[in-house]
Amino acid sequence: MNARSQRLCAWCGPALAVVFFIGFWMIARFIPPPSPAQSAAETANMYREHGFRIRLGLEITMWAGVLCTPWVIALGLQMKRIEGRWAPLALTQIGLGVLLPLEFIIPFYFFMTAAYRKGRSDESIQMLNDLGWLPFDGLIFTLIGQCVVVGIAILSDKHEKPIFPRWAGYMSLWCGLLMLPPGLNVFFTRGPLAWNGAISWWVLLAVFFVWLFGLTYVVLQAINDHEKEYGAGALEGNRGHAGAADL
């Protein structure tokens, strides 16, 4: 058991939040998102005028996507202690969570392609912008899967001292429910359900970070508990005796 690596992975959650806000908000200035109701010309001019900082900001934000993976793994490893050796829910969470980097990276490449050649037609640039925003905001399917699986795992924990506090399970399920509306952004170019809307964007932004920070907190607590269970000596490496708690 290696508490330090696990903690490092868990802290990637808050780290990705910092990277995201620097790259996506401060530099690319994509918060608030540009409106889908803009004309093709307006959208294209945004990329022609601000293409440099958009590309720079997104290059940085890509790393927020990468940082998702160690965080997902830290969560999955502690979840695995709930189920033991055969841990379908923990592994499902990992399987879904490792898609997160691509869910940042691919839409960002569409944005960057939109900025890449100023001479492209307005419609082409608008389409690339759409290709970026619709999934970046609306692709909630794997994330909801994670939320649900985490919630079920935590709430079905039968240990006398549960690995995670029960409120975290409820919180995860609640967040999953609230992430449903952005999936509807493909039907709207304006209003609260469009990719920049009060419900599709702003609620999602808030809920995602509540989920991220809430789970980071309980994962760090769980790592502390896990470490105590082992005793200080176990940090030196495998002692050769895998108890039931080892799994």
Partner: protein
């Protein structure tokens, strides 16, 4: 055990206890918070587009809205009954009450599907105008909660069948939590119904 005063609701000797679990209340209150936010957004849009909202609202059937309301209130009443029965360990009747609550919930869902398909066949969708956006979205999110609630009531049915037996353990608080969730679903409808169907 001797020497301890018998606690009663009036004497205040009982330690304060949250019905259900604290975590469930996080879910419920969080949900209410977000719905309150959506209601506020609805009212802002409504203020800006009063005419469209008023004329579209006339296409909604208040009668159907009343039926939904009665169904959910009845189902909540059955859940209250089920909880009392579970507390005295009546594992014959408690599950039946839960089933009747579920039947009301399922009837709600079925009628809702007919209401939606009627609208869609008349060419009315989420995209038709802002009123219908909120109509479909609010009732849709609520329906999602009803369906989740039916799953939760299923879990409650299994618990009800164990009421009064040792295997029940201290799981009454789960039943309380499930009941609270269902009451929340009912409560949400009691706000959505007047907002969408009645408020002129």
């Amino acid at each position: 055990m001797t020497g301890l005063a018998t606690p009663s609701a009036l004497s205040g000797n009982r330690p304060p206890r949250v019905p259900g679990e604290p975590g469930m209340w996080l879910f419920i209150l969080g949900d209410l918070l977000v719905f309150a936010y959506v209601f506020a957004v609805f009212l802002v849009y409504r203020a800006d587009h009063a005419e469209i909202f008023a004329s579209s609202q006339r296409n909604l059937s208040v009668g159907v809205g009343v039926i939904y309301t009665l169904l959910l209130l009845t189902s909540s009443m059955f859940i209250v009954g089920a909880m009392s029965l579970m507390r005295v360990g009546d594992r014959e009747r408690a599950p039946r009450y839960v089933l009747m609550a579920m039947a009301c919930g399922m009837a709600f869902a079925v009628i809702k599907v007919f209401e939606y398909s009627g609208k869609v066949h008349a060419g009315i969708t989420l995209n038709t105008n802002d009123f219908y956006l909120f109509y479909f979205f609010l009732t849709g999110m609520h329906l999602a909660h009803v369906l989740l609630g039916l799953a939760i009531l299923t879990a409650m049915w299994f618990l009800a069948r164990r009421a009064g037996t040792p295997s029940m353990g201290n799981k009454m608080r789960y039943a309380e939590g499930f009941a609270c969730f269902w009451h929340m679903v009912d409560q949400l409808w009691l706000i959505i119904f007047p907002l969408l169907y009645l408020l002129h």
